[in-house]
């Protein structure tokens, strides 16, 4: 999911940076109004998601499963603080470990910090209270699927790649729809655990 340097052309890099920064400005204004408890959770959640992303379970055939965490962040602290949780994770991964490029950081934050977070939040919110765990699963699944599709669109629009959207969309979208099942399962499991053991944390995402 982390797009490295060299996969996107300069125009796509610039466009994705611009969108990500624009959303960031809105997110910053809205996040200021969030409750203190939710704010205090941001650094901890970012650290936990950073480590969770290091726990990749490799599968024979050369792929792996690990949490992206956009939906989980949105559920726990709301979409605006969730944006910053993912921004912290992705910026540190790119700048300190070169995991994801710096020219593509805008695109990566757009996919995992905007698309995944907003999708996760909206899906979770759409479910009634008694079905929230199912909602967390659906939020995790759809957040990763749409983030994968966004990634496919960026790759398809970029002139680095000759074949265009008709190839990139099915490859990225299909792949992530499958990986999204695991994202959904982990999101729902963490949600159910926290709801039982630390219900105060679940109530934090109201911004």
């Amino acid at each position: 999911m982390h797009i490295p340097d060299g996969f996107l052309d300069p125009a796509t890099c610039a466009a994705t940076y611009l969108i990500t920064i624009a959303v960031g400005v809105v997110a910053f204004r809205r996040a200021r109004l969030a409750g203190e408890d939710a704010k205090l959770l941001v650094p901890v959640l970012a650290a936990a998601i950073f480590v969770a992303q290091m726990l990749n379970w490799p599968l024979p055939g050369g792929t792996s499963l690990h949490l992206v965490g956009g939906a989980l962040a949105a559920i726990l602290v709301g979409p605006w603080l969730g944006y910053f949780v993912m921004l912290l994770v992705l910026a540190v991964q790119a700048l300190v470990f070169h995991d994801g490029g710096i020219t593509t950081l805008g695109a990566n934050v757009l996919n995992m910090g905007v698309v995944a977070v907003l999708t996760g939040y909206l899906v979770y919110k759409a479910f009634p209270e008694r079905w929230k765990t199912v909602g967390a699963f659906a939020a995790g699944w759809l957040s990763l699927t749409l983030a994968g599709i966004a990634c496919g669109i960026e790759l398809g629009l970029s002139s680095q790649f000759l074949y265009g959207l008709s190839v990139t969309l099915p490859v990225m979208g299909g792949w992530h729809a499958l990986l999204g099942l695991i994202e959904g399962a982990i999101t729902a499991a963490v949600y159910a655990y926290l709801k039982a053991r630390a219900p105060g944390l679940i109530a934090g995402g109201r911004a």
Partner: protein
Amino acid sequence: MRARQLLERHRRALLLTLALLVISPLFGVYLAELVGFHEPLDIAAEELGLEEITEEINWTPFLDYTVPGLPDWLGYVVSGLIGVGVVLALGLLLLKLLERK
């Protein structure tokens, strides 16, 4: 002040994060080597005919969660500690910026 509040309020979550970090080489190094792991996106990109230029323009000594001079598993844990430290520090800075006037 905020740092102390963070430690007091979320000590268990931070300890759990550190515990996960300690076992992370099992996943990120041992199992990865066992099955010949590559990033899913890299495989998709290969199918699409893209080439990444990460190695050519690398700027960090901690590329791909390694630390020069340390075995991979230990480098992975140390990288994780560095990452968690930087994330928490930047997170606290962000909280300062988000303070209501």
